[in-house]
């Protein structure tokens, strides 16, 4: 690694592709020379610069994982946001923006550690755009032909609010996906629309006695509720990693 390739150094990314994911969110693929890959679950800082030199920086989870200089972000527009509306509405293919990373070493999953394949069960629980780092883990799991059993419980308001919907509709081998809808479920869906409850978690996630590694990501209230319920269900708090966004 040269000095200019370090995670802390700003690099120039070129938008290679954008895709509308939901009414308020989209994914963005960037080519970032010097990025050099990332571990599933890490994040990146994105810096926008106005013509007068004013800058704004925000952190986003990376949806891609593995080696290479292609980075995929997925961003949800915050109504009063400064950076997210630009990324969701204005950015087009060929635009440049500055990015640095990968950052963070905690909310991550590695297919192997020190050459040893990680085979323990992994429970992913995402709310809304909180799916982004979890998708990176799912992709890392698939790309490495990992034998670790993976389960995803994905909570969204309505079917239209799911990021990576088509990708998650056809889960890779060893991945079990459960959908939960909080406002409107598809026609004929067995579970009525509503927030995740302890009973949902008990029925649809790995039980505590399997000691799964648990990753929970989503809005603060969602993560609080889910993580507290998991502890009540007997999960070791030390096995539950959380990432929260938004205020209260």
């Amino acid at each position: 690694m040269t000095d200019t390739d370090k995670p802390s150094v700003w690099k120039v990314g070129v938008v290679a592709e954008t895709r509308t994911e939901t009414a308020s969110g989209r994914s963005i693929v960037l080519d970032v020379p010097g990025w050099g890959g990332n571990i599933a679950g890490q994040h990146a800082d994105v810096r926008l610069t106005a013509p007068d030199g004013y800058t704004a920086v925000r952190s986003y989870s990376v949806a891609s994982a593995g080696s290479g200089d292609r980075v995929q972000l997925a961003v949800d527009r915050l109504p009063t946001g400064e950076v997210s509306p630009y990324l969701v509405d204005d950015l087009i293919v060929g635009d440049q923006l500055e990015i640095r990373g990968p950052l963070g070493g905690w909310f991550v999953w590695r297919p192997e550690i020190d050459g040893i394949e990680q085979t323990g069960p992994v429970q992913l629980i995402g709310g809304g755009s909180g799916i982004v780092p979890l998708v990176a883990m799912i992709r890392s799991h698939a790309a490495s032909d990992s034998t670790a059993p993976f389960k995803l419980l994905y909570s969204v308001r309505t079917p239209d609010d799911a990021f990576f919907r088509s990708e998650l509709a056809e889960p890779s081998r060893g991945l079990d996906v459960t959908w939960a809808y909080t406002r409107r479920a598809p026609d004929g869906w067995a579970r009525p629309a509503g927030r995740l409850t302890r009973a949902d978690l008990e029925a649809r996630t790995f039980p505590a006695n399997l000691s799964p590694a648990v990753f929970v990501c989503g809005p603060t209230g969602f993560v609080e509720t889910v993580a507290n319920s998991l502890v009540e269900l007997g999960h070791d708090p030390a096995r539950i990693k959380t990432e929260r966004f938004g205020g209260q």
């Binding site: 400064e82 963070g104 929260r244 205020g247």
Partner: protein
Amino acid sequence: MGIISRGFSGRSREHNPDLPPGQYLTEDFPVLSAGPTPSIDTADWEFSIRTESGAVHRWDWDQLKSLPIEDVSTDIHCVTRWSKFGTSWRGVSLDTLFADVDTNYEYVMAHSYGGYTTNVPLEDLLDGKAWIAFEFDGEDLDPEHGGPARLLIPHLYFWKSAKWIRGLVMMDDDDPGFWEQNGYHIYGDPWLEQRYS
């Protein structure tokens, strides 16, 4: 100057001298925690300071609350880039808690209920710079925000203000705590943008 972002204008340019570089103001109080929120009954709560001699200074909840309580109004700055101005807290100054502590070590590891740790130089805890806080905005501190009590070191990025504080252990060296081992800066001065290691 970096790459100009086509069509990006950003918010107003009013220079706010109280806002450290790279931060934006929020009215919210966002939550950053690595794991579940621990549930701690004040009846079981205890805070301690342990020194190199093995001496342990302990306070239970009632003993802490019987110490001189200070009102603290301060700006806070999170490494995830939000800053919040004029937050109001109540708590006990670390100067009070360290008054009878005899140590030659210059560094401190803060330990929390739930296992979180963070490292701080001792001088950053003294001279009116840090508190054990148990009230926010006139209310008991919410568990999500570190209740019943958290460390409050507002001049450093807020991950140093350990939630659910349980004790301080004196250290000879500035060993890294939890986030400091996971890519964050060993010291964390927001005015120098010491975010990442």
